[in-house]
């Protein structure tokens, strides 16, 4: 299993993570990357950025699948021929709902477990964890759960929670400490441009990551 969690940010901020992501690909001169946005309706510009981002790293086979819009069975099956599948940022609840509705959730999980490289930015990274609770706080910076989705179970590819766009501030820390008290797994909080790489049993941190566990905070990669 190869996973890359992005805390957020643009191509420039994520240059290190991107190159580490591409280095996970073995024996493929012309890799295929599929981008799955959290929401298809506003993803045209986002996809352009993704294309620019990966093109600048020499990738020219870049696909997109909008899971909240109609697509063929052919495309549904074909994206698993990709070397990397990139889950985009956006509203985590909306993304989770449509991953489940489209039947892609299990397929993506199985593909990742078989060795497919799955990466996600912000909402896309949260999706790879056991549950998406971290999208619901802090109050001042949370995703709206417009449709009141109750089942927040997600891919469960790792045994930690992920908190993107983290800022080292009292307000964030209070919310994360509180959450970690009632949570059995650690929460890794990543600012933009910072991330986590999971390769098999190995977990590597790229940049300064905050870990919240049992109400306490400590930094990894100080």
């Amino acid at each position: 299993m190869k996973l890359v969690f992005y805390g957020g940010g643009d191509a420039e901020e994520n240059r290190t993570l991107d190159s580490k992501l591409l280095s996970l690909i073995k024996n493929q001169k012309e890799p295929i990357i599929t981008f799955i946005p959290a929401c298809g309706h506003d993803s045209d510009e986002y996809f352009n950025d993704i294309v620019d981002q990966y093109s600048s790293l020499g990738v020219s086979r870049i696909l997109r699948l909008n899971i909240d819009q109609p697509f063929s069975e052919f495309m549904k099956d074909s994206i698993f021929l990709s070397d990397i599948i990139h889950l985009g940022g956006g509203n985590t609840y909306y993304f989770l709902k449509h991953l489940k509705k489209s039947g892609m959730m299990q397929g993506l999980k199985d593909w990742a477990l078989k060795g497919g490289i799955l990466c996600g930015l912000s909402a896309g990274a949260i999706i790879m964890t056991p549950r998406i609770d971290t999208a619901g706080f802090p109050e001042f910076d949370k995703d709206d759960n417009e449709e009141n989705i109750k089942n927040l179970n997600s891919m469960k590819l790792v045994n930690f929670d992920f908190f993107p766009h983290y800022r080292n501030s009292k307000r964030y820390d209070e919310a994360l400490r509180k959450y970690s008290l009632g949570n059995s797994a650690p929460v890794y909080a990543c600012p933009d441009g910072v991330g986590i790489i999971v390769e098999g049993e190995e977990v590597r941190f790229v940049g300064k990551v905050a870990c919240f566990y049992e109400g306490k905070k400590h930094f990894i990669n100080k």
Binding site: E30, I32, A38, C39, H41, D42, D44, E45, F47, N48, V51, S55, S60, R61, I62, L63, R64, N66, Q69, P70, F71, S72, E73, F74, M75, S78, L81, G90, N91, Y94, D144, E146
Partner: protein, 603 residues
Amino acid sequence: MALAKKVKQQDVYKRFDQLDGSHPFKKVLPEGFVDYPARIRKGGKVSYFNFTLAKEMGLIPADHDGKITPELEAKILQTFSIQIINEFDQEQERKFPEADMKSGTYMATRYLQLQHDNKQGKTSGDGRSVWNGQVKYRSKVWDISSGGTGATKLSPATSKFGRYFETGDPTISYGCGYAEVDEGFATAILSRVFNQNNYSTERSLAIIEFKNNISINIRAHRNLIRPSHMFLYLKQDDHQSLKSIVDYYIERQRESEVWKDCPQNYRKYDFFLNQIKDTFAKLSARFEDDYIFCWLDWDGDNILMDGGIIDYGSVRQFGLCHYEYRYDDVERFSTNLYEQKTKAKYIVQTFAQVVNYIRTKEKGSITDFANHEVLNSFEDVYENQKDLNLLHRLGLSERKVKQVQKRDPKLVENLRKSFSYFEKMKTKKGEVKISDGKTWDAIFNMRDLLRELPQAFMLSDSNLVAEQFVEIMTSSLASKEDLEINSYKKQKIEEFQKLYKDIIKKTAKIFQETEKKTLLDISRRSQVINKPNRITGDATTFIINEILKKRKELSNEKINNLLNALEATQNLNPDHKVKFPQKYPEGILNKFMEIIEEHREGI
């Protein structure tokens, strides 16, 4: 202080005051309209106001926020909430309070309409609308008219029954002089979508709503003259009036710098004819390829002189190439998608007759112009545009489209033939009756194919097997029987894929880039151009029902925000950066998107 604020607010909206019924057309063609006094119609409220358009027209300042303030609403109502004092009112010697009377008079223009028994346009024209006037702002001129302002003597009802009708007479529907809220929203929604996607169209400026779903729907365009405004004088052998209105149109085009190169002397009529030919040839090609049904006919009604879409009552955007659809207008069926070209060509033929009549003062028969050189040119422009359209639909940029078409027209022609084979394929079920007409369903969703095929070719250099190819483009309207793959179909599938790849190779070669780069570029553009959830006519109807159902809980501001967001989801231009007001479709917009998806392959 309060007075100063009030004065300032009045000053901000002073451009509305230009809209007092005056219009240069009145001087150009005194016989071309019926002039009506009007009074303020009370009890209305502004349901919708197009802030973007109002800013373009200079009616409100560029930094105006998107809120209908009490001052703005008062100004809109004062300007547009009017009802004409028609012939019925005058016969009944009805009196209205002086304070309610508008100072200006408002014209209902005369034009040809095929639904009138008089085929010379002596009875027809604006049957329930009048022109509010003209606004000039930053070298642009805008005509504004309002539908639902009262029954005029040019309505089909007066023509049919030979008497005048009271505005709102419940015994007649079409002809009572009222417009309806749902019509207003249909125009608002579709005109915003079409305008965004570079179609010339009337644009909805505002909807004023009254009780019982009645409304006044206000529209604007750079020039609201239709071919039918000219054709009636041709039919009536009225050389002077015909020349006056053609000259008027040409001058306006010249003044607005749309026709900067138009000659001053008699050659201006050749220029005029040539422009009309180009407009209508390109338009009919685009209507076909974008599956837009706009009931074109010999009368030159339902379309503006610049090819702009007007009167959205029968305008539809199909999801697939449902070229057999015909609208049932009770007494007749409409033209279908492909017959629009024949009608557009006939309109150009009529203009050839118009120009000849103006120049020679002798009116030839329309059949004398059946072989006019302008019609050959029409065919050339049409065919060329069809090629360009297909390359655009594939996802090539404008620059690439031009070069590929120029350098290998035969390849493009072959691809078009191959594409058309699948696009026109219909269900074996045959013709069916539907609520507003009849149709014979297409079975393949070519937009899905064009969106997914470049991605498939990025995954593998090999061609898709026939079953995969068909699966990508299969629509919900196809039956198992429709999808049978015989050896001929297999051959056509192979042929199409080969031609498609040849286009990629050709483009890459011309632009000296790798085929992978060309394919990636095509893929990302094609995903915008051929996005799956494109609004159709059916979807528009259901969306409007949803708006009307939730009308009470929707403020003006919320409706505006919703229509802004809806418009943003319908951008098909990959070069246009769209600002999404919502990060994801929530609430009513989510419902709209569900409706669009459900009806995306319909009529």
